[in-house]
Symmetry: C2
Subunit: 149 residues, 2 copies
DNA sequence: GTCGTTGCAAATTCTTTGCACCTGA
DNA sequence: TCAGGTGCAAAGAATTTGCAACGAC
């Protein structure tokens, strides 16, 4: 059923003139199965186990390549100085980030759907993309909120 | 009229046990008058002219201090690896960022107002804060969109 | 006078780059 | 074959830290 989803990587990489290599496939797979956006280092560490030799610069270079093919999105929002990468799903999602336990809860809903139209009409601005992260306290932590920093 | 807004800095700093110094006031003033969030380096350069001697680490340390007093918000969204700081206005705003000319257009409206209620009800998540940046093409650039990177 | 703040320089952390070798198409 | 990918080490950029001198309260 997901025919055009089956192997978008090879196809898109071919289109973009990006060679298909072992590392790239591993990194793509990892991101595909990730619950949340990953940092370059997280990817690096995770791959070191599977792949005998990979270095961090390859990870960065691969991430940049995949971004140039619009396969990935980069997020810097989390204020910790580390960029995070996630697959550029067509249906995008956002995260609720608990300020106490740092848990990330992904949500499918997005408040921008309506808003984009208003911006187009009122500000004459064509929205292509947006980034949104929502901070607060999750179910478990809301009883005793306490800032981490 | 804005009586409790008159000098929130001194008051809040006193509360937080933060000493009131020349540099800190300058940095706060700068951010207060800034049209958009500033990077540490922008603040540093701007202050070097006014204040005979200031160093970048003081800027960073001051920003951190002011953040710990909840006077500032930090934004890392712009994917350029530089953190930006802005005053934690009670009425918050968001930016439309043109992907061609990099212009930032601030907007007062926020799509989260309604959404927060839904999150509280549906996900049992208490929203404290959120970060949103909107990318696209502005009025001037929408006729000939062209990505910069 | 005391304790927090600052300047300076050095250290850290994240990311990028140069170069020689390797690999997929 | 050969352009593009990779490992390694070194460079760069943003931010943090140690320490001694300084300044606010």
């Amino acid at each position: 059923m997901p025919e055009n989803q089956q192997d978008p990587l090879k196809e898109i990489m071919k289109k973009a003139g990006i060679k298909n290599t072992k590392h790239r496939n591993l990194i793509f797979d990892l991101l595909q199965n990730a619950e949340e956006p990953l940092t370059a280092e997280e990817i690096f560490i995770s791959l070191k186990d599977k792949s005998s030799s990979i270095c961090l610069s390859t990870v960065y270079r691969t991430l940049e390549k995949l971004m140039s093919g619009n396969l990935l999105l980069k997020t810097n929002i989390s204020d910790d100085g580390k960029a995070r990468y996630e697959l550029n799903h067509d249906q995008h999602k956002h995260y609720l980030i608990c300020m106490k336990c740092n848990k990330r809860i992904s949500i499918a809903d997005c408040p921008m759907k309506e808003f984009e139209k208003a911006l187009k009409d009122q500000a004459n601005f064509d929205v292509i993309q947006h980034k949104l992260e929502i901070y607060g306290y999750c179910q478990d932590c809301k009883t005793s909120p306490q800032l981490k920093r």
